[in-house]
């Protein structure tokens, strides 16, 4: 661990005007969520027999899983490759992944018709189903993430247990438990860290296998047998930009100085990763000769171009520039482009590319659907904020904090 930087619970108050807005958005989402639970999926969404999956799967689940990739990429970098200098970003990325996957699970729960059967895949296995593979890996990975986060929680309370009132008698016992947990975790954590990386690799790629079975229902610009590889490569390349974005936003929100040396390092590593992804994406397009579809001007071709140009090519060029790596604003822009690009790619794959042969009416997300998604995202940001105020996640200089910290909230 860096001698000058140490993860610390942030000394900030929770409520700000921005937080208030997020709370309202979250509550609004919950209202529509209640509607879905009481009156069925059809009551709040525009889903139909022609379009069985909408933004709850495309954004909440598919994009959510992709954007939580910062967790396993930084774990691989910091723990597996043991690059000490990046340890400062491992915990925030871990927390994001943890919250991200928790909300993916929630998203799945509300989108499936029978949420109370959510446990079925644990006992009813269908090994030929890509969805089963994604599901089982995600379930295990969520547990791994919570285990990986345990040391952070233990660190917070170890030596500081102060149960109130009559419970105080239990303090020594709790302390001993925590100490034992601390020792045990330190010794076995490597098992979980590696498992986390393997599980991520598996389900990130299987997420790509999902739509392969849709066959000709999927637009040829996206339908390819190498979808699993493309999904994996894009997940790997969005990991660091996501960490950079989150770190810069958190720094601004909490009035901290961004760790530019660490972030620039992550940015530099992003360029080759994006390059590999781009090479496969373009290569696949030429092998299957799908570029012909770009000649027709329609939603699919425009979205494809947006995804590749703004989500990959432009940020790739930016990450290769020294000036960008040095400037927080430019680094933020480049990272935001990659993040948005991958999100758009997932939406493209799951929604735009899906064109059923017999469409009675097109699919547009309903107001209630959007509200639930926005509500979930707001709730996630709120929980993130609460967690970094409560637990030692964000690294601060070990001196006392600068007192003139002024901060605003960024969504």
């Amino acid at each position: 661990m860096d001698r000058f930087m140490r993860p610390t619970p942030l000394p900030r108050r929770f409520l700000t005007p921005g937080v208030g807005v997020l709370i309202l958005l979250a509550l609004n989402g919950l209202v529509f969520l209640a509607g879905r639970l009481l009156f069925g999926i059809g009551a709040v969404t525009n889903l139909s027999n022609q379009y069985p999956w909408g933004i709850w799967i495309g954004i909440d689940v598919a994009a959510g899983v992709a954007l939580a990739a910062g967790g396993f990429t930084t774990a691989a970098l910091g723990h597996v490759m043991h690059r000490e200098q990046y340890h400062a970003v491992v915990r925030p990325a871990l927390l994001t992944a943890l919250l991200g996957y928790t909300f993916v699970a929630l998203g799945v729960c509300i989108d499936i018709g029978r949420p109370y059967y959510i446990w079925h895949p644990l006992v009813m296995w269908n090994g030929t189903s890509a969805l089963f593979e994604v599901g089982i890996c995600v379930v295990i990975y969520i547990h791994v993430l919570y285990i990986e986060f345990l040391p952070v929680a233990v660190e917070r309370f170890l030596g500081r247990v102060a149960l109130p009132g009559p419970l105080a008698r239990l303090n020594p016992l709790a302390e001993r438990l925590l100490a034992a947990l601390d020792r045990g975790l330190a010794r076995t954590m490597f098992v979980f860290i590696i498992a986390g990386v393997v599980l991520s690799t598996l389900h990130q790629s299987s997420l790509g296998t999902l739509m392969v079975i849709a066959g000709p229902k999927m637009h040829p610009l996206w339908q390819t047998p190498i979808l699993p590889l493309l999904f994996l490569l894009s997940a790997v390349s969005v990991g660091f930009p996501m960490v950079i974005l989150e770190s810069l936003l958190a720094a601004r929100s909490f009035g901290l100085k961004p760790e530019m040396s660490v972030l620039a390092g992550l940015g530099r590593m992003t360029a080759p990763l994006l390059g590999v992804y781009l090479a496969f994406k373009i290569g696949d397009m030429f092998v299957r000769e799908t570029f012909v579809h770009l000649a027709t001007f329609n939603t699919a071709s425009v979205m494809f171009m947006v995804e590749v140009l703004f989500g990959v090519v432009i940020p790739l060029r930016m990450f290769m520039s020294r000036a960008v790596l040095k400037s927080p604003a430019l680094l933020l822009t480049a990272s935001a482009l990659v993040v948005a690009g991958v999100a758009v790619n997932r939406v493209d794959n799951f929604l735009i590319a899906y064109t059923p042969p017999y469409s009675l009416r097109p699919y547009h997300p309903a107001f209630g659907e959007v509200c639930v998604t926005v509500g979930f995202i707001s709730l996630l940001v709120l929980l993130y904020r609460a967690a970094v105020l409560l637990f030692p996640v964000i690294s601060l200089p070990d001196r006392t904090l600068s007192p003139k910290a002024k901060y605003t909230v960024h969504g």
Binding site: V80, Y117, M124, G127, P151, F190, V191, P228
Partner: protein
Amino acid sequence: MANLTRREFLAGAAVLGAGLTPSAAQASGGRSPAPERSGVLVDTTVCIGCRNCEYACKQAHGLATPPQEAYEDRSVFARMRRPDDTALTVVNRYENPRKPGLPVTVKVQCMHCAQPACVSACIVGALTKAENGAVVWDTDKCIGCRYCMIACPFQIPAFEYHKALQPRIMKCDFCFERRKAGRIPACVEICPMEVMTFGPREELVRIAKDRVRRFPERYVSHVFGEFEVGGTDWLYLSGVDFAALQFPRLGRSPAPGVSESIQHGIFAYFIPPVSLYALLGAVMWIAKHSPESGEEA
């Protein structure tokens, strides 16, 4: 960590890998369907669009059924309809490019594919291909994820979107219950024109080809479903190109083929995941292997 040997690493990896991944035995899909299974041959050149099959199907499945006279209303043909949660089969009408003024009517329902994409896709195995050819759905398993709807190349399974509890996946079940009682499918039974022939699939293919050979001016020489997506147990004959009747253009390989081989490749007897685990373990060990390095997870 310091006294961890490589062997411990691999052992740990194997245990974890075995626990985490689906059984490899299960991952090999595509068990070939029973050769003596039944099917239905639909001859669209005979269909008069009376929609009796729609009526009988609803009756047989306890769905809300309008009185039989209501089915004489031909205005429904103005727009294309699809099977949904209230109707497991529907009849659509198409212009006849060969004989204008003599439209073609076509009954649509689940094709009961030989290697069904829906069965391969279902996360919990709620859909199965029965010995007798029927692809049936099990309400005790289904979680309502609707992945079967994404997978089906004929866009058949429908979902009860307006039910909060126990919404069902609805599709033609080849009259599974009736057939258990030794009866033939309701739609086949009621059809006044004998559009549909129920019988062993292999025989149906023979009959279909025989008809095409004997009446070349009546039929296009294509038995839809003989080879499409690896063969379907419902087969169609037509007097006009199937594309004109909005049949999907599909290849011969089974719909789940590609995705299952990808799945299989990624998991092949756990070897890829376990190797990855071992590789990462080795990298971690080497990266950290300085005797003084205290473990801090």
